[in-house]
Amino acid sequence: MSIMQYNGAAMIAMAGKNCVGIAADRRLGIQYQTVAMDFQKVFQMTPTLYVGLAGLATDVQTLKNLLEFRISLYELREERTMSPQVFLHLLSALLYEKRFGPYFCEPIVAGLTPEGKPVLGGMDLIGATVITDDFVVSGNCTENLHGMCETLYKPDMEPDALFETISQALLASVDRDALTGWGGVVHIITTEGVTTKELKGRMD
């Protein structure tokens, strides 16, 4: 039993043409027992920045609160919104502070620069960051997610096509993993705003 497989999570962040999408499943479990089907794992940090936290649920919630606190402090002092690149560095530093007793959480970050360019990043539990221009995945079934994203991804997708791609990739992947699923939630972020949709999937 690995601590990263205690609660269960699956998430994808994918880039399109001047837009990003981030999606996650909704299950909260205690090993094989499902405890909630509406557990939030993706959080809005700024109007153009979302973070997805996959891993131990208590650390998901703690990190969410910590990040909101740090963002508020930054906006108070700097009088401006935090950009995605700065946020990635902040999150990485927060995780590495706990190098020898880490938060059991592997986050993904999806955001847009003020010019509307997509920023995508993923991290391991001690803050090692990867920045990509196509997609990042995290959670229990990363192999399934990588397989789906690698095959379905095309560069420069419009928001509607991005939504379809990210939804199909998530649903097909979680259906083959016992610890993830029970529906999904997708956020598509553009310079105009954010559209949030719930996915209907197999409730098992």
């Binding site: 192999e143 399934n144 990588h146 397989g147 690698e150 095959t151 199909q168």
Partner: protein
């Protein structure tokens, strides 16, 4: 056990023997003053010979209305090394039935040998080649014979059944099997199965389901193996596809990345 009195404050390492806990029990080791490894490298521990090796690779089988397609990469690895870029994982058992196996190559070879002998005996006794569902059952039984020292072989069987329809069977290492519309096994199976669910099984889709032709499935499998080749270190080099129809087996090969 003798415990000496703690040495006066001369070095970081205590004068008491290092206490090592391991599967053989607890061991006290006398070490040099100032030794920094605290006995870890000297304590006895169990070493075992493993009869199995993992040689990697991915196999896929998809069935259709009048065809079955079995595909596999051709890479043979051991650890981080590539032993060969051109070893086939596909083995025709009859004119209408192909076995794809990934896992431990020596077990795969032995399994194929045993199956070939049994197929020959059957065709000698019954004066006809074995039908695909019967071959599927025979493979299951052959694997279960070695239930307590298994063939480390992850198989997919694809072929045409007695009615001329495509048939695919998936197995685990000890012979549990089931007829399924499609199957994938080996190191890259997790990358491929959700894709097959979505595209071949039409799961989680709102558009109308339609029958796929053999050529379409070949194109899907090419994409699938490119993906598996990207993300799985044991999959790559080239892709071998066998298309089984009523009139026989047609073979195709495509290049994959060699990294």
């Amino acid at each position: 056990m003798m415990h000496s009195a703690p040495a006066p404050f001369r070095s970081a390492a205590p004068a008491q023997p290092a206490l090592i806990h391991n599967s053989e029990g607890n061991v006290h080791l006398r070490q040099e003053q100032g030794s920094i490894d605290h006995g870890v490298t000297e304590a006895p521990y169990e070493r075992r010979f493993s009869p199995y090796d993992f040689n990697g690779g991915t196999t896929v089988a998809v069935s259709g209305a009048d065809y079955a397609i079995v595909a596999a990469d051709t890479r043979l690895s051991s650890g981080y090394e590539i032993l060969s870029r051109n070893v086939s994982k596909l083995h025709p058992l009859t004119e209408h039935c192909v076995l794809g196996s990934a896992g431990c190559k020596t077990d795969v070879d032995q399994l194929r040998s045993v199956l070939d002998i049994k197929m020959n005996v059957y065709s000698h006794d019954h004066r006809k080649p074995m039908a695909t569902p019967s071959a599927a059952q025979m493979l299951s039984n052959t694997l279960y014979y070695k239930r307590f020292f298994p063939y480390y072989s992850f198989n997919v069987l694809g072929g045409i059944d007695a009615q001329g329809k495509g048939a695919v069977y998936s197995y685990d290492a000890i012979g549990s099997y089931e007829r399924t519309p499609y199957s994938a096994s080996g190191s890259g199976q997790s990358y491929l199965i959700p894709l097959l669910d979505n595209v071949v099984g039409h799961k989680n889709r709102m558009d109308e389901k339609r029958e796929l032709g053999a050529e379409e499935v070949v194109e899907i499998l090419k994409d699938a193996f490119v993906t598996a080749g990207e993300r799985d270190i044991y999959t790559g080099d080239s892709l071998e596809i066998m298309i089984i129809k009523k009139d026989g087996i047609q073979k195709q090969t495509f290049a994959l990345k060699a990294d």
